[in-house]
Symmetry: C2
Amino acid sequence: MQRAEEYFGFLERLVRVPSVAGEERAAQELLASRLETLGFASRWIPLTADLAELPGAGRPCSSLHGRSSLVCERSGESAASVLINGHIDVVPAGDPSLWTGAPFAQFRRDGWMVGRGAGDMKGGLVMALLALHALHDHNALGGRISFVVVPEEESSGNGTLATLRAGVTADAAILPEPTDLNIDVSGIGVLWCEIEVTGSGAHAGGRRSANPLDQLTAVARTIADLTAETAAGDVEARARHVYYNANLGQAEAGDWPSSVPTRARGVMRIGFPAPLSAAAMEERIRDAVARLEHDAACAGCTTRLAFPGLRAEPHALPVDHPLVTAVAEAHSAAHATTSRVLHTSSTSDARFYVNQAKVPAVCYGPVVSAIHGVDEAVDLSSIVAGAKTYARLIPALLAGLRPRPRSSA
Amino acid sequence: MQRAEEYFGFLERLVRVPSVAGEERAAQELLASRLETLGFASRWIPLTADLAELPGAGRPCSSLHGRSSLVCERSGESAASVLINGHIDVVPAGDPSLWTGAPFAQFRRDGWMVGRGAGDMKGGLVMALLALHALHDHNALGGRISFVVVPEEESSGNGTLATLRAGVTADAAILPEPTDLNIDVSGIGVLWCEIEVTGSGAHAGGRRSANPLDQLTAVARTIADLTAETAAGDVEARARHVYYNANLGQAEAGDWPSSVPTRARGVMRIGFPAPLSAAAMEERIRDAVARLEHDAACAGCTTRLAFPGLRAEPHALPVDHPLVTAVAEAHSAAHATTSRVLHTSSTSDARFYVNQAKVPAVCYGPVVSAIHGVDEAVDLSSIVAGAKTYARLIPALLAGLRPRPRSSA
């Protein structure tokens, strides 16, 4: 594919901008600048605190100051409109010393590009751009296309919510999230839970006093047990390879080895199945932890739960939805192979299109490894492969989805 | 007692100087200035890295730059010499918001002074000063007295080691550590152990990958079990109310709720009994953790142990040692009550006098509450009470200890 190397270079530049929560703007500007050369007009939709009150919203953990969603739009005649949505925020790198190179320096290895965000999801954004540029080169870029580049996907989703509130929608939405060139039609519920256990500290040598870390561990285990129990409600999970994990992703306590910590704090990420809502899952968690608190072992500590950040409701597009068919056909036409329908064990901003806006949405994007981990990488050849699919898919969607077969209507 | 209020005011000033590790000098200067008015000459003995190679040494965790032990000496004629040793370093305050006031602001409540370090052990330092000033006021301050004010007691003990290497010693040493006016004759072994577990991170939604926090918890539990098992070797522990605790005093892991942490780090404080040495306890810990590592659950994580900070060897002065008798007699003479012999579940720099310098040493100091905890406090009346004991004890020690009874020689 022409321009592939040009866009790999653009991806390098994009990865070198460490667009962690709160620092997304510079990377968004790079994308806006590139999209403007393809005839898109840019506008910015600021993130505001009141977004958190909308149905499905999360509760951002970083300041919203100066943060906006980027909306790039191209007008034109088309039977239908299409929206491409990608997030520009990346998760922190973990311990940088564990990486082969500096996490945001990026480097290529055996056809992969390694770097925080290369896989989740700057590679996908570049994949979509490459497809648009290919269409542009063939004078085939026309019709109503929106390219939305949002912050806050990893921690709330409120970046996409801001664009929906502003009326940025379409007849179909595609998200170039990393799916290994499969078609991801659903997302599980995901809730963040902050656990804060407070004691009063003590000398480590004293008659044993309650260590908030022990209580934090007990609460996390209780929540993990509840998560597993709740997950059992999804009888299709095993067949679909869906995991409802409870992950204690952050923990901190204490400031001196010989002092019992005064406070321990942890944050979990908890997966849960439909038809549960985030609010219902929160209630289950609060109940389970309240029962634990009556345990004698917790004497002397108080436990407080909070639910900042992600509060993702489960979502699902029917597997026989015309959008799924359209993606599958575009993939087959481009590659003469079949793309698999996927049920992710995570979530994406696709949920807002499906749940809130009633716009069909799927994720389809490149092959990646170790997203959120050390040496996260994207397979560069899969960026080209995915772009070939998008170059067929976008015109097809602009022509309008075929009606859904009656049998499953 | 005259001057009590003056010295409570001095204690207020001392507490307001937050002399945490590395920040001890300003508080030491206050003490030097005060001791010089009582005829003491000050000198400073710098802490150096090679102290860590001496027998019994710890491994300081803070920079040694600009840090010294303060030695204030008074010469004169006396049958024997006496040394008062106190540490000026205090442990961190924990979460300041849990305190009734700001931790280093200090305030008085019902006859107590509340503040980080008020109990451990600025109250004791002031108690000894008050006794010396009382003797001075009565023209009874004479003879060879050293007043040693050290940093690094809480994390290595190398401040006291520096003074011993410089030849600062005496016929007997007393440490005004908080003992509730009891006579503390011994200390348990205390070892710090840093646990670092490294994984490779991952998305929280993936097929379950090893979370370093789980492994940290497992290692800490293994060490706690070993500590309890080792403690069983001290058959007198229960009768003496000695606790060999394992305390996970610090822990930190991860930087994002939806990412499996790349690394988890914890630091434990581990108590162990004589006749074990710190080196032998370290070996036991390494062995126990190595056995755990063969467990399948740890797959994908590597665990590294390090032993920074405190490596305190157990120490004990015989309960019938003439120094113990001298303190008991001074206490009885001052208060017409009996002081109890105490075996602490912790350690103090007394160990260096007893173990390394073969100088008898005991701790005797004020009544305190919540040392290393929230709202740490010292009972002001006990400072006066302890000073009355010291005002009798110091002249007695300068006259020379009576020989130990033959029966227990």
